[in-house]
Symmetry: C2
Subunit: 310 residues, 2 copies
């Protein structure tokens, strides 16, 4: 029987694992569901940072240096926006703008976000088209001592250099999951759910908080794998360490495991874990994905642990 | 007393005369009202071909070769859109896209078209900010034997190479004129209305058909100057000759004068006119505006004819 796997992912780390999984699985064996909590409007365009990073990674176009946007970009439009005095704190390269305009055309002609992403993926030659966790707008809001911040205000403009008092997710129990994600959850061949090494609080939790996804995963008889966002005890990227401290969680893997308490069956990490929690198997080994080979290797280990063989 | 002048204009020819007038008059002496009948949505962006041509001309940025868009453009986004399979029959250069994204940001944050144009003009350093004839959407539709065509379908996609059975204008008697145009019409110093050498049927008439502008101009005691769109008996640019033929009007200036019957006091043309009509004075002389000097020269002749002196 063909097996099916579902990956939940955010941007940079998530896109790498998604790419690794796509190197083993055919498009009908893999659903890549992506966070939309970072999405926002800029210049009247819908910006989907995590989805686009996944698309560019899968298309082999992602900028290695930046980790987001496209390789070999030019910045003519961005510089012209600056000269005009238009909002330009969020950078979009000229090629990246083409993707945004295509999405703008599709959305403004009534297509759903899922349909827009499918069309863009086809245009980029991406066979494993990702799906958004939902077609609805589910913006994450960060609570700070100085009031609430829209997510990209916190993340890009303030570079996450602010104490986080709380995080509120745009998705609710009533938010409809995307058709693609629903199809994966309903797939009788679903053999594993793989949570990517993305930030648990700002990339994965916005998904789990949407449409009762956390409860549905916890209640399903499907093994759930988590890849630690920590490598050698330090975050590869982003503010996960600071957020854990601000939210009063223990540092490193311990805090991550406490956050995912009750959800995880297998934990992939490169650092010994003393108290993984009841019913959590720890798989020790390399989790840093340096290149395509590293992405495929980690994905292969995860899939084999889930009983998959080529 | 300071005098005030109102110019009605379309794109290429209109922008040239607007530039000439702006070389003589201060911003508070001149209102440049621009056609919005060509406006349409492309890639989810509002495209305002005539307004943008006027803006770029006044900013000294208009492409000499194309007559629209900016000089020294690059086409990275356009090429990337083509590679993605996105709609790309209407070309936007990378710098031009910055203007469109700024307008998209302004309109999507609730600004009117007039406000958006004022902000963009400021960003371009344009002192004589043009005003749209109206902030409302007033799309022109072309009737053909094969059915109706959206204006840019007719004008750009089909290169106006089709028989025109009729032209329908988006503006109605009830359409509200823009505040800037209303202010000019209400200005007690208004000393002349100058209709640019733009296509009478697709650039000027959409304005006159909006908010009873034709009746208001005809009923006002203000001299109306028209510059012929013909030079040496031939159209400088665009489908004016074919439209006159298709609509059953006489060719050349005679057809233009018949179209504007009852509205015009002074007619600037370079070709002898036999029957200008009752009450129309003909001013013979060079009307082709080859360069900045030519634009200023024609504008100066018109303004002097209207009693203006520096």
């Amino acid at each position: 029987m063909k097996r099916h796997f579902l990956s939940l992912c955010g941007g940079v780390g998530g896109s790498k694992l998604a790419d690794g999984l796509a190197r083993h699985l055919s498009p009908d064996e893999l659903t890549i569901a992506v966070n939309t909590g970072d999405d926002f409007d800029h210049l009247g365009l819908r910006i989907c940072p995590d989805i686009d990073t996944v698309l560019y990674m899968l298309a082999g176009l992602v900028s290695r240096e930046r980790g987001w946007g496209r390789e070999d970009e030019s910045w003519t439009t961005h510089k012209t926006l600056q000269a005009l005095g238009a909002p330009s704190w969020f950078q979009l390269g000229d090629k990246d703008i083409a993707l945004h305009l295509y999405r703008n055309q599709l959305l403004s002609s009534g297509r759903s976000l899922s349909e827009a992403i499918a069309a863009i993926a086809a245009g980029l030659g991406v066979r494993h088209a990702p799906v958004p966790v939902t077609d609805a707008a589910t913006p994450t809001t960060i609570d700070t001592a100085d009031g609430e911040l829209a997510f990209q205000d916190y993340f890009v403009r303030l570079r996450a250099d602010v104490r986080v008092d709380g995080i509120r997710y745009g998705g609710t129990d009533a938010t409809k999951l995307s058709e693609g994600l629903e199809a994966a959850l309903a797939n009788p061949a679903l053999s594993g759910i793989i949570i990517a090494p993305s930030n648990p609080f700002i990339s994965i939790e916005p998904m789990l908080a949407t449409g009762r996804l956390r409860e549905r995963i916890a209640g399903a008889e499907i093994p759930v794998v988590l890849v630690s966002p920590y490598v050698n005890g330090a975050a590869v990227k982003g503010p996960v360490e600071r957020i854990q401290r601000d939210l009063g969680l223990p540092p490193g893997d311990a805090g991550v495991l406490r956050h995912y308490d009750g959800l995880i069956d297998v934990f992939f990490t490169d650092t010994a874990v003393h108290e993984a929690g009841a019913g959590v198997d720890v798989e020790l080994g390399e989790t840093l994905m340096r290149d395509a080979e590293g992405r495929a290797a980690l994905a292969g280990r995860i899939l084999r642990r889930l009983g998959w063989q080529r």
